[in-house]
């Protein structure tokens, strides 16, 4: 028998070349007694390996280990013998990580000694036995007497027998036991090539340059026991030692008992009692007319399950965070499956009543699934950091940490790195990647290469494509999860090492969210949502100018005006439904009630689109097709969505009811689709699913459609409760837009950057809704955009804020506003009184913000240029009078020039749209304005032109690109099919001003132009300036996937 004690997985970044689970599978296959994964200064890979062994019910035991690279010596392998020793190891790693840069770890031998109780150590096989090495080995042997071995490793370097003998003899004379290890870097010799590649990536060199940095053969793999026995036949004691050590290291990750924090409960009450108390109090608020009977029953039901599972502290923790946010006036709202819980609703975590919506609590916490609940809460994006720091402060950094996100190699990065390492010409990778969008994990297919004009039979290119495919899915580094907090009752750093994130003041643990789930730890997602910021700012404005108090909970519901607005697709700025795809869905779906919004949110997702569920739903909704159900069982699941599965739960339910999956299996299926971790298992699930469906009498095509939809849902689908939470924000933001467009626009402007549209479009939309917009002015503007009274009572205009001015710092703007008093009369006075920087004055002048002083942009720039900040105050005071300059008549700017300058300085203009200046010329080219397109009949061929606002290539659209462009009369959406893209590539991808000849396609109120020919006409923008002023209209489209 044999136990392998030294194996590095690919979590030893750019060293190991196999996934931990591959190592685990191979070790099980060879029948090892045990396998230890010893990655460098990290425990990131251990949960994966552990769960693999557990799921496979392998006889091979998993040993937790770690390779400690010391700052004052070589490396040591460390294996905790029990739970306490494991805690010491994680604390040791935390110590080393927390004081080093991100990704680094600084540990000294003396510190290892301090935390060494209960650990076993192995010194890796020495390559030389010089004084330093001998000294180190002997010191360790003394310090860790009785639990220290020296490793012997056979790598076929030629003199192995002689050298192992030398080392073994040295050990015998020094009375140090020896142990055999493979020092494996990969599970199979086939990975040698990939290992060479990652070595080169690490060393930042090409394979040709790498030389002795590469391994000289493929021996660093896990070997069959027979082979190992033969290699070490002369040292049987080294083989026996592997089993002795494995026997000593009995610690298993199953022993980790996660405990929730306790102190949040009110003194004298148990956490559960406190939760009950708080919930009833909350329920009274939620149901002021008295708590209905069914609500009471539901609460009791939830209490029972929570008490059984002892989840009460978790709810209290989340409630505590929410209360903190409320006390600071930070808007927040729970999303995700927490929406299924009535307790969460009563505690104010979520905003939609699950009883009213008929949501099942079991989807949040189920008796079947033994896994902790997961509550995700959105906070205002500008103020989330306050909440995060509150958690750190309250629980301490040794008890709270953010979950890690393992950043994996994706196609782009993998192809780029592999091409570089192989020494391919520099332009090869970009050429190959031309047809690949950002997030692909599929690698490059032969056909892509051929399309890009490369020869896929070229052996080097072949290698690059094959190796990059292998590299995809390899972990690259740890990053922080978007907001998943893990909080423990005791020391979190005795569960898992904690390290620094790139961001200041953030600490992350070494496990990602799947690892946390596996171990059963609690996670609260503290997420950021820009729309919440905007809504809070809108509420503030409503209070200030209209004297109305509103919260997320008390917006008048079911307001027909709001739905009417949305049916018109008048939704710019409204949460979620403002995108192009949503805008074209709104008039078709015609939402009339809140639940329609829920569907609207859920339906425009890759999941339903890929599963081809959208059109059947729309047909049934319009009554063109009767809702039919393959069976009565499925009718219960699909009833409220007219027989078409649109939500994640429905897909899971089909798997359970239709294909006979157990709830656990269904959940596993969802997870396996979501991550890389279970590569290869999808096919297995698919077969199981289709078989199950057929077995239950469903037709094959229905089964296949269902599965393809589940595939989409895995990554992109919304659970119903989540869609409800989002729909709530859709309604709230739409309500504000509908009744207070000015407030809405100002709030959005003050929350930038967020959302789909840039300030220019938001302002334009507000103007179209009759809101007066006033320009930025040093004498009237605040930092934020504000409302100002108009002649008409109760009607306000927006005064744009200085935050729109490019390059102006908030500090400068605020000092200018604070020192304004009754107003400034000259640019010099501003600097004199406020002490703002000269640059700030210049930026404001560039933004044409001096109109109240009767200074045009050029005059203002000229005046601002003369202000000398370094002049002593006394001189500055008299400067205006004594050295009065003769008035200068600067040449006036042309109107088009002014527009360009506006865009340069603020990204928007209140003057004419740039295209208005080109209209005469465009008319000669028979280009018609967007407004006329709206009137043109279906199928008519038209030529249009506009500034490109968005380019979008949804993953679901098979390469079709959607372009949104704008002229002075409106916005037009283009559809560019793949064949047209190929012909007009440059225009599609990079034109700022696009001219398009295409055919009008109408579907109800939705209008698209299907492009046939496209031209990049950006050079015309340059002509907007009557003379060369250096600036070019800075139009930048936002490109989405």
């Amino acid at each position: 028998m044999y136990a392998e004690l030294q194996a590095s997985s690919n979590f030893s970044f750019l060293r190991g070349a196999s996934h931990p689970q591959e190592m685990a599978a191979t070790a099980s296959g060879y029948g090892y007694a045990a396998l230890a994964i010893t990655d460098r200064n990290t425990l990131s890979g251990i949960v994966l390996a552990h769960s693999h062994f557990k799921k496979a019910q392998s006889k091979t035991r998993f040993i937790v280990g770690c390779r400690l690279d010391l700052a004052d010596g070589p490396s040591l392998l460390c294996y905790p013998g029990n739970r306490e020793a494991y805690g010491r190891l994680t604390r040791l790693l935390t110590l080393g990580r927390r004081r080093a840069e991100k990704g680094e770890c600084i540990l000294r031998l003396s510190e290892v000694e301090e935390y060494s109780q209960g650990q076993h150590f192995i010194c890796p096989f020495p390559a030389v036995l010089n004084d330093a090495a001998v000294q180190f080995i002997k010191t360790c042997a003394n310090k860790f007497h009785g639990r220290f071995h020296l490793a012997l490793t056979h790598t076929c370097r030629g003199d192995d027998h002689r050298w192992i003998h030398t080392v073994a003899e040295f050990a015998r004379f020094s009375d140090i036991p020896v142990v055999a290890t493979a020092d494996a870097l990969y599970h199979d010799p086939d990975r040698k090539m990939l290992q060479d590649v990652v070595t080169c990536i690490r060393e930042n060199c090409t394979l040709a340059e790498a030389g002795f940095r590469l391994e000289f053969n493929a021996e660093r793999h896990l070997k069959p026991i027979r082979e190992i026995a033969q290699l070490f036949s002369a040292w049987p004691q080294a083989l026996e030692a592997t089993l002795e050590i494995a026997d000593f290291c009995r610690f298993s990750l199953d022993e980790l008992r996660y405990e929730y924090p306790e102190e949040i409960a009110e003194p004298g009450l148990s956490p559960f009692e406190d939760l009950v108390k708080r919930t009833w109090a909350g329920a009274k608020n939620r149901y002021p007319q008295g708590i209905p009977e069914n609500v009471k029953r539901q609460l009791e039901h939830e209490f029972k399950l929570i008490q059984e599972r002892e989840y009460a502290p978790y709810f209290l923790t989340v409630h505590d965070v929410i209360q903190f946010a409320e006390s600071k006036g930070i808007l927040c709202q729970g999303r995700g499956s927490a929406g299924n819980s009535l307790i969460c609703y009563c505690l104010g975590i979520t905003q939609a009543d699950p009883v009213e919506r008929g949501l099942l609590f079991e989807r949040f916490i189920s008796a079947a699934r033994n896994e902790p609940p997961d509550i995700d809460v959105d906070f205002e994006h500008e103020r989330r950091e306050e909440v995060i720091q509150h958690i750190y402060e309250k629980y301490g950094r040794e008890r709270a940490g953010i979950a890690a996100t393992v950043v994996h190699y994706r196609t782009r990065r993998a192809v780029r790195e592999v091409s570089k390492v192989l020494g391919l010409p520099e332009e090869t990778a970009p050429t190959l990647l031309k047809s690949v969008w950002g997030w692909s994990n599929d690698g490059i297919e032969e056909q892509h290469a051929r399309e890009a004009g490369l020869d896929p039979s070229d052996p080097r290119l072949r290698l690059a494509m094959d190796l990059s495919k292998d590299l995809i899915g390899f972990p690259r580094h740890l990053s922080q999860h978007v907001g998943g907090f893990v909080i423990a009752r005791g020391r979190l750093d005795e569960f898992v090492p904690i390290e620094n994130a790139t961001m200041k003041n953030r600490t992350v643990i070494q496990w990602d969210k799947d690892d946390i789930d596996e171990i059963g730890m609690m996670k609260v997602d503290i997420l950021a949502l820009g729309m919440l910021t905007a809504i809070r700012k809108a509420f503030d404005l409503l209070k200030l100018y209209y004297g109305i108090n509103h919260t997320l909970a008390d917006i008048p519901s079911n307001d027909p005006a709001v739905y009417k607005m949305l049916q018109r697709a008048d939704s710019i700025g409204v949460f979620q439904v403002e995108s192009r795809a949503q805008q074209s869905m709104l008039p078709r779906l015609k939402p009339q009630c809140f639940y329609d919004l829920v569907i609207e949110v859920a339906i425009v997702r890759p999941g339903p689109i890929q599963g081809d569920m959208v059109h059947p739903y729309l047909r049934r909704r319009e009554g063109k097709e009767a809702a039919s159900y393959p069976s009565e069982a499925l009718k219960n699941i699909l009833g409220k969505t007219l027989g078409v599965p649109l939500f994640q739960e429905q897909a899971m339910q089909i798997a359970i009811t239709g294909a006979g999956f157990s709830p656990d299996e269904a959940d596993e299926l969802r997870r396996s689709l979501a991550t890389f971790r279970h590569v290869g298992t999808i096919q297995k699930h698919r077969e199981r699913f289709i078989h199950g469906m057929l077995g239950n009498g469903y037709p094959l095509d229905f089964a296949e459609r269902c599965f393809s939809q589940i595939e989409g849902f895995g990554t992109y689908g919304f659970p119903e409760s989540h869609a409800i939470s989002f729909a709530n924000l859709v309604y709230v933001s739409a309500w504000i837009k509908c009744h207070y467009p000015g407030v809405f626009c100002a709030a959005l402007l003050n929350s930038q950057p967020m959302g789909f549209y840039a300030p220019a479009q938001l302002v334009r939309d507000a103007r179209e809704h009759g809101v007066e917009i006033r320009p930025i002015d040093v004498n009237y503007s605040q930092w934020d955009s504000t409302l100002q009274t108009t002649n008409r009572r109760g009607k306000y205009a927006i005064r744009l804020g200085m935050r729109l001015v490019a390059g102006l710092s908030e500090k400068d703007a605020r000092t200018i506003v604070n020192a304004r008093g009754s107003g400034y009369h000259s640019p010099g006075e501003i600097v004199l009184r406020s002490g703002c920087s000269r640059l700030a004055l210049d930026r404001l002048a560039q933004a044409d913000a001096f109109s109240s002083m009767r200074l045009k942009r050029r005059q203002a720039l000229w005046e601002a240029g003369a202000v000398d900040r370094d002049m002593p105050p006394l001189f500055r005071a008299v400067q205006g009078n004594l050295f009065d300059e003769p008035a200068l008549d600067l040449p006036a700017a042309s109107p088009s020039q002014e527009v360009v300058e506006d865009y340069v300085a603020t990204g928007l203009t209140l003057r004419k749209h740039p295209l208005a200046f080109l209209r005469a010329r465009l008319r000669e080219q028979r280009v018609i304005p967007a407004a006329m397109v709206k009137e043109a009949p279906n199928n008519k061929i038209v030529t249009i032109a506009g500034l490109v606002l968005f380019r979008q290539q949804p993953a679901t659209a098979h390469g079709t690109i959607f372009l949104t462009m704008e002229d002075e009369t409106g916005v037009v959406n283009l559809i560019v099919w793949k064949n047209v893209q190929l012909k007009f590539r440059q225009a599609v991808y990079s034109a700022k001003l696009l001219v398009c000849r295409g055919q009008i396609q109408r579907e109800g109120q939705v209008l698209h132009v299907v492009a046939r020919q496209l031209w990049d006409s950006s050079s015309q923008l340059r002509d907007l300036q009557a003379e060369r002023s250096g600036a070019v209209l800075p139009v930048r489209s936002r490109d989405f996937r």
Partner: protein
Amino acid sequence: MPRRLLCLYLSDTSAQVKARLLPWCHRYSPLVADDGCGGIVLDITGCAHLFGGEEALLSDIQSRIRRAGHRVRGAIADTLGAAWALARYSRQVIASGSELPQALNPLPVEALRLPEEVTRALRRVGLSTIAAFQKVGRQALVTRFGSGILLRLDQAFGKAEETITPYRRHPPYSARRMLAEPVATTSAVEYILHDLLQEICARLEKEHLGARRLDLDCYRIDGTVAVCTISTSKPVRSVKHLIRLFSEKLDGIDAGFGIETFILSVQNIDRFDPSQLTLPQFDPHSLPDSTVLDELIDRIGVRLGFQHVARMRICESLLPEYSVEFRSVSAGEMPSALWPEYRIRPVYWVDPPVHIEVATIHPGGGPVQFRLRGDTHRVVKAEGPERLTPEWWRLQSLHWESRDYYRIEDDRGCRFWIYREVRLQRSLSRWFLRGHLP
């Protein structure tokens, strides 16, 4: 008589092109300079009539440069600033005295050789031409843009002086001797050369530099020049060594009726830090003085051409076919790799490897005996295997899977380095002799 300056605007402003054009321009004027803003300026005061007037001169110089394959535009004016501006921005390319304001005023502000941020600031307020710009009060300009702006304006209009620093042909590290009596014998030349070398090498030593290429220009009394060039493989400043290198070439100089002026110039120069002298008797490991070898290489190189001199170096590859390479000394220096001591390699390569027949194999992997050219060798001792896999990125080595190298000794005490090659898609492995070990 007013100063007349000709400014050339080159589309290709690379240093190489300039280095070639600058000396060439001497045919038009003794005063040629780099204008500091991407072009070349010639002071042609009093020169134009030699070429048939300014217009003729301008078209001559332009057409010659164009024929050499460069794009160029020239202009002539009283000031450098004006000529520079006209060459780049004006239709009118020759302007003098009173015409200047008229020629310059319509030009854009960029024509004034101002820093980019200043021109941008001027354009932002709408001052885009020199004319617009001149209306502004001088004090107002200074307040906003500093006094540099007025200097450029005045330089263009000839209200402020602008000096040009003429280009010199000989680089700074040069020495010259003008003789009262011309010399013709080699020994005399050598004597003077020695003198010149001492002068230059002293300076090089002081500044921690060394010469890589030297030119000796010998001006004969009939006005012709003989040039003798030497190069070295490393920076050198030893007079003795340099004299030796020159002496290889001096015989080839034809002194004609005698040489009256010598100019020795360093054309290529490198950093050369002084090195600490070692005391060999105290340091038994010290290598033989490497400069001796370097000097030898230089001497052979000067005779045969450096591209014909190669040195061996160890490469970072364990595969015998790639572990050593010959490298021409002219390709620049690359240190040998540090060979891992325990990798023992033969003293004599068998190249290409010779196939040997092996019938039986020890359990450890080595052969029991093998046949080489009809002789049977019984293996007494063996060590190995040293397993090497192909360097797969070199695509030519992809047809084998791995090689096991063994060191073996036969019953007669001969030692061999042999290997077994496992080929892809062929279960049979074959044995080869790769070298003889000591």
